[in-house]
Symmetry: C2
Subunit: 124 residues, 2 copies
């Protein structure tokens, strides 16, 4: 049987405030080597996601503000969700990570194709 999201997700999530700048997001992505950063409101609720791809696109389009480049309609995962559903969502939207949220839309983890791919060798 496949594991659940909560068995594979990372729990130490780097997030950024919606009031941050593109430079702040770029610095956080550089320092953590993480490419997907959930954007949160003052009440710590998920309001968007900004990725290295978005910052690269900002360079191509000469955008200046985080609000211009972050994605607001975020695909998320539930900790009790089976991994197959997550894999299908990642494939359908061509994305590489999903924030895991609780009932208050607080970010409690991240599940990534990097982590999922590591399961292959272990399952034989």
């Amino acid at each position: 049987e496949l594991p659940l999201v909560k068995d594979v997700m990372t729990r130490e999530v780097k997030t950024i405030s919606e009031r941050a700048s593109i430079g702040d997001a770029a610095k956080l992505i550089m320092e953590t080597q993480i490419t997907h950063i959930p954007v949160i409101s003052k009440e710590s609720k998920l309001v968007g996601i900004v990725t290295a791809w978005d910052i690269s696109t900002a360079v191509a389009k000469r955008h200046e503000d985080l609000a211009e480049i972050m994605t607001r309609k975020v695909m998320t995962a539930d900790p009790e969700e089976p991994l197959e559903l997550v894999i299908r969502k990642l494939e359908k939207y061509n994305i590489s990570a999903l924030p895991v949220i609780d009932k208050d839309r607080k970010v409690i983890g991240m599940i990534t194709s990097d982590e999922i791919s590591k399961l292959i060798g272990k399952r034989g």
Copy 2:
């Protein structure tokens, strides 16, 4: 048994010339939605790799040239290599993709954690 790299790699690879600018790389990443772009010489040999993460880092560090931000020591894969070795390399270096090269260091494919993670559901 696990597949070989050649069974999982994508063969349509977007590459960029080492004489390109950061703006050219950012535009290619935006248009293709691909985050890992092999950098090739005039003779089409692999000389580096530039990713969305590198362009994001260029924003944080205010770098101006592709040569400043691309990684020259590229981790690659061989088409006949077993997938387990690839998964170990990705994990060891915390990277999400490997160019697949032939004996002349020409890029013949890409293997990514995105593609590998899609195998999970199928193998049951």
